[in-house]
Amino acid sequence: MNAQSKIASPPRKKLVVIGNGMAGCRAVEEILEREAERFDIVIFGAEPRVNYNRIMLSPVLAGEKTFDEIVINPAQWYDEHDITLVSGDPVRTIDRERNAVIAASGRTEQYDKLLIATGSDPFIIPVDGHDLTGVVTFRDLDDVDRMLTAAEKGGDAVVIGGGLLGLEAAHGLTLRGMNVTVIHLMPTLMERQLDEAAGYLLRQELENRGQTILTSANTKAILGVDGRVVAVELEDGSRIKADIVVMAVGIRPATALAKSAGLDCERGILVNDHMVTSDPDILAVGECVQHRGLCYGLVAPLWEMCRSLADHVTDQPSGYQGSVTSTKLKVSGIDLFSAGDFSGGEDCEDIVMRDAARGVYKRVVLKDDRIIGAVLYGDTADGNWYFDLLRNEQNVSDIREALIFGQAFASGGALADPNFAVAALSDDAEICGCNGVSKGKVVQCISGGAHSVDAVRSQCKASASCGSCTGLVESLLAISLGDEVESGPKTMCSCTSFTHDDVRRLIIEKELKLIPEVMQELHWTTPDGCSSCRPALNYYLLCAWPAEYKDDEKSRFVNERLHANIQKDGTYSVVPRMWGGLTNPRELRAIADVVEKYDAPMVKVTGGQRLDIFGIKKEDLPAVWGDLNAAGMVSGHAYGKALRTVKTCVGTEWCRFGTQDSTGFGVKLEQATWGSYMPHKFKMAVSGCPRNCAEATIKDFGVVCVDSGYELHIGGNGGIKVRATDLLCKVETEDEAMQICLGFVQLYREDAHYLERTAPWLERKGLDWIKAQLFDDPERIGRLAARFRTSQKYWQVDPWERRADGHQRKLHSHLATIRPELEDA
């Protein structure tokens, strides 16, 4: 019946695309590449412009690129492919009954296939003032224009959100001359991409560039005058001046349109492996979709999604399998890369390399001999190589030893053996940059008898400062001596090659004041330490910098975090302080009241002359302390690596044998030393005569009074291994005894290893060493005692009082209670 001579091509189907962004246009490109003639195409875009590369908005803001440079598809691309672009007219409705979309202007388009590529919306935290003029998001070119206009006038910018986007905005605004403060809710910047160590380095760098970084900071409100933003108020009440506020706290898949059309959505629009939604005629792609439970906010998955979408609509289905993503921060001069899963875990293995001198932190996470994650800071040259190995799930057991040094090293045949590489170095090659020690010198030192890392450190100083060349020194020892290398003294834990002594010394020498800083500068091999080194570092830092250091509760054992002793059933016991073992009716009544009020099943007199109240629940602890505080009692620190008790006998006041006021002196000692944290628990006693009823000769510091004065004893222990004290000295007055006590305590605090009682410490160092430290230089003991008193100015506080006032209530309360209940109820 057809009068025409040529055969008509089948009528084209109509493809309507909602979204003129990177995903929508890329999908169209992929389809055109496969079958240019298959569809008539209409693209709706909400923004009044052609398709551009959204991830390059940061360089536009920073002034490194212009808008024209980031356009992906100029107007002629649409013309060439006969694509109708409807820009600045967002689609409002999808009518699935009629297979049509209706835009804001009323424009209606029929479709055979509909592609939703609406991307994501910036998340706005609904605080007061979020709608003021001057509060902007960072999503499209209009936002960039708003920021640039604000930056022309200079002034103060506040960026809420220390993630990828927020930091890029902050960087741009800083370059544009604004004074920028970044407010981040979590303690670590970019916590989803970075571990604590890398986050710390990033923060340092940004602060050096003049930005103010506030972490663990919760925005309470945005304040305005005449409808214009003037400041941001934080939860703690502080205010930060702001001429512009950039909200960059995150994005949400834009699903409103799909939802209103009745398509299945959860967080994003649900799609199958071919990017088909719950309606077979409707496809979706990009940041708005949820595929196999995941939503993506990065560009790489989008390319893979678009390929499988195009394969599907052109009848050659392939299927999208999900993506592994990597992240790079686009801030010039900061090299930062993260990919995959770097959260670690029991069957994973971390390889960490830190180079403090160059500001480098590299961490590769392995599982079953394959890379599953990587974080690189300061040197990202090998980021793509690691990412390839990760994506290809390549077995890396052959190159494992040299993996962390990068591709050049690991794939270089013989170079893959680090010893080989070191052997190949010339004699004048520098091994230790800190101390300027050449390979020749180290080898000479080894052949001169230094057969361990420690011996090398002490003799030629190689690796004795920052320790980053420890591996090289170990290699030189192995090359020179083979099996004869002596292992040095025990390291602090398996996270570090340094001993306790090294760490303590370097904390002071290098003025390290934070746990992550110690871990970075001393090349910790784990990202955040372990339960053995964290509490030790926390103690070493508080001892070294008493005025500045802020206690890190997450590095405290439970008893010191909750200021009570955990018992086998998970309840706690509470011991209020009774100075020198003295008490009175008011205190006893308060204790009796607490026992009844909180239903404590047991009260017991302790070996240190205190009363111990058992069976208190963690939720009740603050109230118990409040009641005890009200009767004048403070924490007894029975739970702490701290001064515990000073046990006394009754002395001259009552005892017919007493020679001095042992009770009174015990009270004075306890009042001077309570609240001080120590390497381990520390007990004292004062006996009024040599009958020694207070058992002073099995205490860490014991005083035995005699007619002519005071015998001072040290290093006793009544624990697993009973040890009687050594006599330190004899003095005539209480004042002298007090001074020596404080000096001795401070020497122990500054020298002993964490969790080393005075008894093993004394045996390790020798009584003569301790005597020499205290008495050789007559001024030394005064300086030690003065440092102890300084420390007490900051740390002699009753931790119970703050908790009773509601401080750290979280530690004592449950998140919530889960109760089952009938659905009909």
Partner: protein, 125 residues
């Protein structure tokens, strides 16, 4: 699809309520108390708040990497699968957890096993 076939996720609040390196507890009426952990690396996990060794409250331990050291006898427990690490043997049950739009969700049926259909779970702070 009938609603009961779909997994039900219980919203237990924003991720910001637990600081990295810390844990929080959720007592369950008629069930075992749950500990929710936030690691320094930014991961969240939920486990029954009991060490397989002597039932120590794991929520009170020191969190490092993706493991926690029990406060009673220092057993190290993997937060990923509840297994004791190193030379110790034992396992603490884990509760499936997901994070969505800054909030923490626990899988309801794992919290109240055997009470699936006629019961729902509600939060009470």
């Amino acid at each position: 699809m009938p609603a009961s076939d779909k997994p039900v996720w219980l919203d237990i609040g924003p991720i910001t309520q637990i600081e990295p390196g810390m844990a929080a507890t959720l007592p369950v009426e008629g069930g075992e108390e749950i500990a929710v952990f936030h690691t320094m690396g930014g991961n969240f996990y939920a486990l029954i708040n009991k060490c397989p060794h002597k039932q120590g409250p794991l929520s009170q331990g020191i969190v490092h990497g993706d493991s926690v050291s029990c406060p009673l006898h220092n057993w190290r427990i993997s937060l990923k699968n509840g297994k004791a690490l190193g030379d110790d043997e034992g396992c603490t049950p884990t509760i499936p957890l997901k994070i969505d739009a800054g909030r923490i969700y626990l899988l309801r049926e794992a919290i109240l096993p055997g009470k699936s259909s006629p019961f729902s779970a509600s939060l009470a702070a």
